[in-house]
């Protein structure tokens, strides 16, 4: 099968979808299910942990850790058995930081002013700076 495609949804959620194989790719038999596997976010693990065996051409993974990288692959199943797995696809959920809350201004020493703020969610990648 061709490798699955990954679509980022809300924070930490992704939709993984794959194309139905054509008749030849399906082995001249109807596809019964698709077997989706992953590594569970462990880079030392093989991509062989079953996520789902489903008739759907997609699957939604929820509440992933945005700091981890995941790998997934899929294979089709017909009456003759399971085909070979697709190439693996990497899921990288890291993204730009979230919107900052309003900056506060307050008195500082010697007639100065102090700006203070709360760091926003870092999107899974460390914040390297702020622009004012």
């Amino acid at each position: 099968m061709t490798e699955p495609q990954v679509e980022k949804l809300a924070f930490g959620n992704v939709r993984i979808r794959w194309d139905h194989p054509d008749r030849f790719g399906a082995g001249n038999k109807p596809i019964i299910t698709y077997d989706l596997v992953w590594d569970g976010g462990d880079p030392n693990s093989s991509v062989n942990i079953r996520l789902v065996d489903t008739v759907s051409p997609f699957y939604i993974l929820r509440d992933l850790d945005v700091k981890k990288r995941y790998r997934v692959a899929v294979r089709a199943h017909n009456k003759c058995g399971y085909g070979k797995f697709s190439d693996t696809v990497n899921i990288d959920l890291r993204m730009r930081p979230s919107k900052m809350a309003t900056v506060r201004t307050s008195k500082a020493q010697n007639c100065g002013m102090l700006f203070s703020w709360f760091p926003p969610a870092d999107g899974g990648s460390p914040i390297t700076g702020y622009i004012f």
Binding site: R94, M95, R96, P97, S98, K99, M100, A101, T102, V103, R104, T105, S106, K107, A108, Q109, N110, C111, G112, M113, L114, F115, S116, W117, F118, P119, P120, D122, G123, S125, P126, I127, T128, G129, Y130, I131, F132
Partner: protein, 76 residues
């Protein structure tokens, strides 16, 4: 208008700014003006959305203006 003296040190979520900085170019804020600040965070994947402008907070202060000369009201 960027304020490059703030936000370079991650982990210190505060920044002291002198009135001189805000009252001189390029800001040229006048005494009594509300200091409006917006900011966004940056990481390796890009820039976050800007915060909302503050609607209250500190206003520009300055040294006192020139006083009238003292008056001599009585003497003996």
């Amino acid at each position: 208008m960027p304020l490059p003296i703030c936000g370079k040190t991650v982990g210190h979520e505060y920044c002291a700014v002198s009135m001189e900085t805000l009252t001189s170019a390029p800001f040229n804020l006048r005494q009594g003006s509300l200091v409006e600040v917006t900011a966004y965070a940056v990481n390796a994947f890009g820039s976050g959305d800007e915060s909302e402008l503050n609607t209250h907070g500190m206003k520009i202060a300055a040294v006192p203006g020139v006083m009238e000369p003292p008056k001599l009201v009585s003497f003996t």
